[in-house]
Symmetry: C2
Subunit: 210 residues, 2 copies
């Protein structure tokens, strides 16, 4: 498996024809600014005013030459600001909250069942963190899509089955999601779902080619 | 077990002290009007103008003498308009969609685990209906509460474990939720969760009294 990552991998028809599974990551304007300022100022030591000016200057080109590629993707991953906010009374430091929308082309072949398990007993006790999960259908640039939106943080028990399924497929039983805490944010959950979708697609393609 | 249903069961302290588990059902203004018009005009044959005038005339008294009781309830059930709408292209008749918020006092005793299972493989195929599930924490008239909001329709496989748990507790294996279809709306799901919460509370009370 070859993973191609970059700004224009879906730009020409020739490139697109060589890629079996196309993902477009689409952070909102505010998330993009936060991430770029953090990297360029925090890690690379640039001047915040310069970084901000560069972001604004690049925005039209982003729309013209990068954003348009999303119409070719099988999955578009939108990363947006969370609806949830840390409580004023919380003393523990909170992880970063995001709302992630996975806009996925509907599959026509059957896929083995894998459950996200929402434990009602946890929800009735004080320990549960805030989250939401939403599913919608839509048309998206000529494709039928399912849109799954995850916001906030979920308990790791909820993704245990998904992690196990990935471990079975990959032949590894390490903890796959990038979590150091009991709760996983929407980006962590989405990474698992994306990995699972990639593997399903790969297995489907291999089946056809065998 | 005695179930008391009515407009003022939580109004006096004496009444409240006799009730172990207090539920307040709180439909939104628009849902209340829809239900009342449907019953009074549709079932009882009243004049729609009369019914509408009566609703408006009663609203202040509702606020003064009924709505105030919600501060005493362990669970407040808000029934509101759904965020989801039938697709213009849908040909099959759709069941009624609602958004239901269960505002539940946080439990301090442990509760056995019961999962709502969201099948990701269904979500990736065309058959899935639209839904959302959300969990928030808040303070509500002096109580710590968890707020669970369910909107749209979920597949019956998602509530299978909850139905089985209720069947085990009640000693009956009939289908408990009021469903004739493959998908259950938010009111159906909430009825199951409420029944489960009542039974958990009852078992907890019986344990103390033994």
């Amino acid at each position: 498996m070859i993973i191609v990552e970059g700004l224009h991998p879906l730009y020409t028809e020739r490139l697109r024809s060589l890629i079996d599974f196309k993902i477009f990551v689409d952070p909102s304007r505010s998330v993009k600014r936060l991430w770029k300022v953090r990297r360029d100022v925090g890690e690379r030591g640039y001047n915040p005013e310069q970084v901000k000016a560069e972001i604004l200057q690049r925005e039209p080109d982003y729309k013209l030459y990068i954003d348009v590629q999303k119409i070719y993707a099988e999955i578009v991953v939108k990363v947006q600001d969370s609806r949830f906010h840390p409580s004023l009374l919380d003393t523990e430091p909170k992880p970063e909250l995001y709302s992630v929308r996975l806009i996925q082309q509907m599959l026509e072949h059957p896929v083995p069942e894998v459950d996200l398990a929402i434990d009602l007993s946890k929800i009735l006790r004080t320990s549960e963190h805030e989250f939401s999960i939403e599913f919608q259908r839509d048309d998206y640039y000529g494709k039928k899509v399912g849109i799954m939106t995850i916001d906030g943080e979920i308990h790791q028990s909820m993704i245990a089955e998904l992690e196990k399924k990935l471990g079975d497929t990959l032949g590894t039983y390490a903890v796959i999601s990038d979590r150091r805490e009991e709760y996983v944010n929407a980006i962590g959950v989405s990474q698992l779902i994306l990995t699972w979708s990639c593997l399903e697609k790969l297995q489907h393609l291999m089946g056809y080619r065998r």
